[in-house]
Assembly symmetry: C2
Homo-oligomer: 555 residues x 2
């Protein structure tokens, strides 16, 4: 991809040994338990509004500064949005003895759900204290499950902090207080944002979070910056809102800080037909489609560029917890799995959020890759100013996530697993993905012609990005790059395997294209099918390039 010499005026932070960096003062799981105990009884009823500060560690804040204000960057929509005017009445609801004929809420009598149960892997089954030193990945097959049950009036009856009557009722756009607390704690355990007034609010998933982020920050005619290969849904979503995409060069460590700085330093308003961008959208970990992960050093460089040009960063991180064990090659022994929660957390590349001293990051977290996409629940972390704007938009556009989804996730993540159980689950997922990635890499090493196909072992995510040396293709002289790509795509189909064309992921169509890629995922198919699919891909490539088939044949 684009290579670029470093622009000297980027300030590179001092850190060089990225493996020893630790986020200071992270909240521990033990401290969460203590904090909850100190907080005393917690009772969030129907549509309870959250004071996020109550769930954050206040003693940690003394040394932190406040976030930058973004008033000069917000759209008209973000500026004029008001909260729901009926909330004027809400302050009176605490009057003792008051009978409210105010809110138009249906009585929970008429919710036709008396009880909801879900069968889930038990906390004990996830414990890392298994003979092999990590979570037992055969849990589900072994039936080590437990049943979690929510009743209609568990909250009123003191059985649980959340119940059907509350979850099935109207709620706040920020989500249920009891579950948002869990998200805030989790965020502090993993990221500990280094400014004082950070906040979280729930989303209905990161697709919607991205839509909202555009609505808050981007006007028609604006440009935003992103990786040169990127998530197409984001591109068409932006384009629909009249937002243009400027592609930033990448190397195997993802977005190049130097390219980002070059584009901004040399922005030509007349040529581009729009103002200098101030939003960068990035998927720093296991990026889609490349699978590339920005190491800490790269993140620091990009954050420095963001400071230099006063950028706001959309950090979209669905694959953050699909960070895997280091790849050791086909025949070397595996690296032992993390042995403790702390070990696991320290193995993760620090997020932009954890580097964000200025409050210039809106981080999007998602359960889609580690629990279930169909839950349509996620959350963002950003400064309170931005979260407040986000909440107002939620109240008027989505009304927050499904209460039924929230109830199911709350029972699982808060009541059953807790923070520790969730980390155990994430370790289990890490080991599963490590195995899947190792399978596909082994298949690639076995079946693909190395002089025609190149790849980098992914350290996170779902995707392997396979670069084809199309200059060696017999039709290089008489066909376009896209025609050759199409030919190989169809050859793959003829051989019974489907990979995605790299051109479908191009961020800026107008930019010249001189690389040819295919994207393969190792997330979905079982290991034996992954092996067979790559074998077929190898056969298709050989055929397309006019090479003899492998000696042991294909299908």
């Amino acid at each position: 991809m684009a290579s670029s010499t470093r622009t000297p005026e980027i300030q590179i932070l001092a850190e060089t040994d990225t493996t020893t960096f630790t986020i200071p003062d992270r909240l521990t799981i033990e401290q969460v338990a203590k904090r909850r105990a100190a907080y005393g009884s917690f009772n969030a009823g129907v549509a309870a509004a959250v004071d996020v500060e109550l769930f954050k560690g206040r003693t940690h804040h003394s040394h932190k500064g406040k976030a930058k204000r973004w008033d000069h960057r917000l759209t008209h929509e973000a500026k004029v949005r008001q909260g729901n005017s009926l909330k004027t009445a809400a302050k009176h609801l605490k009057t003792p003895g008051l009978i409210s004929l105010g809110g138009g809420l249906p009585s929970s009598e008429y919710f036709p759900f008396e009880e909801l149960s879900i069968t889930v892997p038990s906390l004990a089954s996830l414990s890392p204290s298994q003979p092999n030193g990590h979570a037992d990945t055969s849990t589900l097959k072994a039936g080590k499950n437990e049943i979690l049950t929510a009743g209609k009036h568990d909250l009123a009856e003191g059985v649980s902090l959340y119940d059907i009557a509350t979850a099935c009722q109207y709620g706040q756009g920020h989500g249920a207080a009891q579950f948002l607390r869990w998200m805030i704690e989790h965020t502090e355990i993993v990221h500990n944002p280094p400014y004082r007034d950070w906040s979280c609010t729930m989303t209905i998933g990161s697709t919607s979070a991205c839509d909202f982020a555009f609505r808050l920050f981007c006007n028609p005619g604006d440009w935003i910056l992103t990786e040169q290969y990127t998530y197409p849904t984001m591109v068409v979503a932006a384009q629909g809102m009249g937002i243009n995409i400027a592609a930033v060069g990448m190397d195997e460590h993802g977005m190049l800080a130097t390219s980002l700085d070059d584009i901004l330093s040399n922005w030509n308003v007349a040529e581009r037909g729009g103002p200098k961008p101030f939003v960068v959208y990035t998927v720093p970990t296991g990026q889609n489609p490349t699978g590339f992960t920005q190491p800490l050093q790269r993140r620091k460089e990009i954050y420095a560029v963001a400071q230099k040009h006063d950028l706001y960063i959309f950090e979209d991180e669905p694959y953050y917890f699909l960070q895997m064990q280091p790849y050791t090659g086909a025949n070397a022994p595996d690296v032992p799995p993390p042995t403790s929660h702390s070990d696991f957390i320290h193995s993760l590349v620090p997020s932009y959020l954890s580097l964000d001293v200025d409050g210039r990051v809106l981080r999007m977290d998602s359960f889609s890759k580690v629990i279930a996409p169909g839950s349509r629940v996620g959350w963002i972390t950003a400064s309170e100013q931005i979260c407040e704007k986000y909440r107002m938009l939620s109240d008027l556009a989505t009304q927050g996530p499904s209460g039924i989804s929230q109830l199911v996730l709350f029972k699982l993540l808060d009541e059953s697993w807790g923070h520790g159980g969730y980390l155990d689950w994430l370790i289990k997922i890490r080991m599963e993905y490590t195995e899947r990635r190792d399978s596909i890499l082994k298949a690639c090493e076995t079946y693909l012609p190395r002089d025609l196909v190149r790849w980098v072992a992914p350290s996170a995510g779902m995707f392997l990005w396979l670069e084809i040396d199309y200059k060696k293709h017999p039709h290089f002289a008489d066909k376009t790059l896209l025609e050759i790509e199409e030919e190989i795509f169809l050859k793959n189909i003829a051989h019974g395997t489907l990979l995605m064309c790299g051109s479908w992921f191009v961020a800026e169509q107008k930019a010249g294209k001189d690389t040819l890629f295919f994207r393969a995922t190792y997330a979905a198919a079982p290991a034996d099918q992954i092996n067979e699919a790559i074998k077929r891909f190898g056969a298709a490539i050989r055929e397309s390039f006019g090479l003899a088939p492998l000696a042991n044949g294909t299908h």
Copy 2:
């Protein structure tokens, strides 16, 4: 409210006896069963795309025309939105033997949900064949429940058409095919839209549907038309998008066709600072906040105005199935409940959708008032052109409703209750709301001074709209209307009851205001508390107006 003489050029359709109007060729529940059987096996897997036409009654279509095109009204966003470019690959997925390494879907192995169960009122318990001739309203208390269970792989195992593996996976913006089918059938049973190319697509609730409708039809600076008292969330949502609201006069039958026509016929672009509106937003049934319901005749008049001025209608109908039995007064016998599904359906005021020969209506349906708001699932019905635009926006903004919510509702509404059971449930809800409304009216008749407070018995919805004769208020000469309203609001609080101020629902703040209302809901509190709250309200009014308390005192 505003009264206005009828503008003679409005064409009033011939129908005068509104009670005998029937929607022709409605689909019956029996026909649904036959159609499903004729359709044969139905298998919608992960993220299956729907061909809505397959679920509609094709034989009914021969005499229907096609919907008007709305290209000239769509926003830039609606026009340029493209579908997800990765769907190019989807057509190849049916290739026999193909192994896909394409879609980045997590394996359902890693969804930590093995089984989901919900306890719901059994179909038998809802049956109208109860001794009292209608659904047994003590069902829930009597424990006549059944447990519905979804397994992880029920679909693959042939146990059900929907399961956890499918519901928890990524889906389509239009929702799961198996549940959308139910919505389409229900729509044809109740409304039978009178044009050929109608379609349905799922929403995450009508708040979002309204946000989407604005995004598809309204540009900043546009005006839309709505009832002079309206739902404030809609107003602030519109304002945030730069959309202005023009208030249409009302009488006790809701929006006035004459007022609508006057405003449009006399629209002054210079004075208003915006083009003549072409969107009317209305809540025709049990309108919030007034509780007013437009009778059929009024709907026909308004539809005729819409045809005259080529308006597009947003029909927001959360209260449609909160239509109640006729109010007979405190001492008259009750009207017997509907004795059959057909009887029930014919008791409902026909929707705009059922009158919509042109395809100029986007109807929003919601489960919020009749199942549970927290489900965040609803649907729209409109022409295929508009539904297609809506689906594209869903794919890029919300990704459709929570799969967990869809699964729970599918198990209940399709697998357990079916269309008949759902209608039985709606009859039950109808009788419950009738009882609630009768309670509040009885309390009003008992405790409110009739010379100061006036109301109309609502025939649908959750709200009673109480008009105060503020001209008789002791402070009429020296206080503004809003000050008197505030005084009464606070007097209510002091007496231990909360009602909403009418001014909070004003659609067009700039319009002069010469009426004073309070909104009371009878949906939430139990009957005895409703009675007590109205008693307190009466006492507060008397005190505010300087009258002696009622002889039997207040609290």
